[in-house]
């Protein structure tokens, strides 16, 4: 089955500058995680998003579009990125999601209903 993992961050993330000594370790953790997904045949796609301040939303009501600044839902957690993975069942998807090197996060796991293949 295929699952989408929505990564919600409880606090707006403080970007770590590449000059910061912690940057190397941070990147290494995520690279190791990504490699684990690739090696296990779970990787389909994934991305980290720009902070929520860059979001623009189109609201369409009865065919009429309004463009507004901000995300489509104001929630405590902000959508910070996503993974699209292949897992044999929900338990495996949850296990992979839980392995992400976050200290604080909310991760929503949803099965894909339909995805067009190229």
């Amino acid at each position: 089955m295929e699952y989408m993992l929505f990564l919600g961050e409880a606090n707006p993330r403080e970007p770590i500058a590449p000059t910061d000594p912690a940057f190397g370790a941070y990147m290494a953790d995520w690279q190791a995680y990504n490699q684990k997904l690739i090696d296990g045949g779970h990787w389909i796609g994934g991305a980290q998003l720009q902070p929520i301040a860059t979001a623009t939303t189109i609201k369409r009501v009865a065919g009429e579009d309004t463009i507004v600044d901000g995300p489509f839902a104001e929630t405590k957690e902000q959508l910070g990125g996503y993974y699209l993975i292949e897992a044999k069942d929900l338990d495996e998807a949850l296990e992979l999601a839980a392995a992400m090197p976050f200290t604080d996060a909310v991760i929503e796991v949803r099965p894909i209903q339909y995805r067009p293949q190229p």
């Binding site: 699952y3 897992a87 044999k88 929900l90 338990d91 998807a93 099965p111 209903q113």
Partner: protein, 405 residues
């Protein structure tokens, strides 16, 4: 006639969970298995004689029904495939009909774990466990929980849909102990619902009996799990004392209960379960609660109760599961062991129970016992205002009258 119906009910309760677990694993389809077991149980309701091996009968009838359904579905698929150039449907493989012999216990455990999967909400876990593992009908569960049958049916349909669409597996996870903890929490909830509603018995299914049956089954599925045995013991102690808890619709406090009404064989059974749990030497909250219950159940008179041991067990429980309700129980036990003032001192340190009637009832009781009826009366009145159970309300009315001049 009645014997036949009883035999069919017993079949549903005692065997349908096993059969469902086996079929769900064989066909990899919980819905199919459930529907076929239900069909077979409907057929059992029309028995004119009880088969020699009812469980085997149920398995065979449900299995054949599943094969029938799969054949029909396959024929349907072939018809669609014949027209697939029109529909552009992907072709599918025939379901694998190879049946391998597997361990029934294992399949049963998978089913229990599935019903109590943390991805399902608590209400759904309870409903699925009673329905699929316990073999209760939707109508029986709805009646036991006093919810409309369509509401409960909807809850089960939604849970089964999530299991299918989100891919919740029938498997035994690596973190088995953690998942068993969820199962035990669900069973305890079922037990408690039954325990609290036992005064108002009618034609309702007895959830206490159901919880004990299910806990006993789970305890034998995970033999090394001390908490499963601890919960079983706790439930057995509760049931053994149940007949003395109410008199004429009024709650009877433990110390005034007629101990000759307690079920000695039931207490013996609970003692055995608790010994087996403690022998595993893995402490846990259910075992501590059962240990406390054992002190009450095994004291021949209220005066003989070893309150120091109970107070110390509550202290351990509080360390393991910090909660103001446990702290309240500990304060009461300490009051019984060392006198009301010692208990009151502990009560003063508890926060967060202002809206809990038992906190105020305990406070009133301890104030009355330390010779301060003037302070006890308002505490009892506060408890009376917060209490919702009629038996408890009547009891508090009497306490208010007793301490009022």
């Amino acid at each position: 006639m009645l014997d036949l119906r009883e035999a069919a009910t017993r079949l549903a309760r005692e065997e349908s969970g096993h059969v469902l677990a086996l079929l769900a694993h064989r066909f990899g389809d919980l819905d199919l298995a459930d529907e076929c077991v239900q069909d077979a149980l409907v057929a059992a309701a029309a028995w004119t004689t009880v088969p020699a091996n009812p469980a085997g009968w149920l398995y065979t009838v449900a299995y054949n029904r599943a094969i029938d359904r799969l054949r029909r579905a396959a024929a349907e698929r072939r018809r669609l495939q014949a027209a697939s150039y029109l529909l552009a449907l992907p072709t599918e493989e025939e379901p694998d009909m190879v049946v391998e012999h597997s361990d029934v216990g294992d399949e049963h455990l998978r089913l229990v774990l599935l019903c109590c999967h943390p991805a399902l909400d608590r209400d759904a876990q309870v409903a699925l466990t009673l329905r699929l593992v316990g073999g209760l009908t939707t109508a029986e569960i709805a009646a036991a929980y006093l919810v409309p049958e369509p509401t409960l049916a909807q809850r089960i349909v939604r849970a089964k849909r999530k299991i299918r669409d989100a891919g919740i597996p029938l498997s035994i996870p690596a973190s088995l102990d953690e998942r068993v903890d969820t199962v035990l929490a669900v069973l305890y909830l079922i037990y408690n619902e039954g325990y609290l509603s036992r005064s108002s018995q009618g034609a309702r299914v007895d959830l206490v009996d159901e919880a004990i049956r299910l806990t006993s089954a789970v305890a034998s599925l995970v033999p090394g799990n001390a908490e499963a045995l601890g919960l079983l013991a706790l439930e057995l102690y509760g049931r053994a004392r149940t007949s003395s808890r109410f008199a004429g619709g009024e709650l009877v406090l433990l110390e005034h209960q007629d101990r000759t009404m307690w079920d000695a064989a039931g207490i013996e059974q609970a003692n055995r379960a608790l010994s087996a749990a403690l022998a595993l030497e893995v402490p846990g909250a259910f075992q501590l609660q059962a240990w406390i219950a054992s002190h009450h159940a095994n004291a021949r008179t209220a005066a003989e109760t070893d309150w120091s041991a109970i107070a110390s067990a509550y202290g351990q429980l509080l360390a393991l599961t910090p909660s103001p309700v446990v702290a309240l129980n500990r304060a009461v036990a300490v009051a019984m062991a060392d006198g009301a003032p010692a208990g009151l001192a502990l009560l003063d340190g508890i926060t967060g129970l202002d809206e809990y009637h038992l906190y105020w009832a305990a406070r009133g009781e301890l104030l009355a016992r330390s010779g301060d009826p003037d302070a006890a009366a308002p505490a009892f009145r506060r408890a009376r205002a917060l209490a919702t159970n009629p038996a408890e309300q009547r009891h508090l009315d009497r306490r208010i009258a007793a301490v009022s001049p």
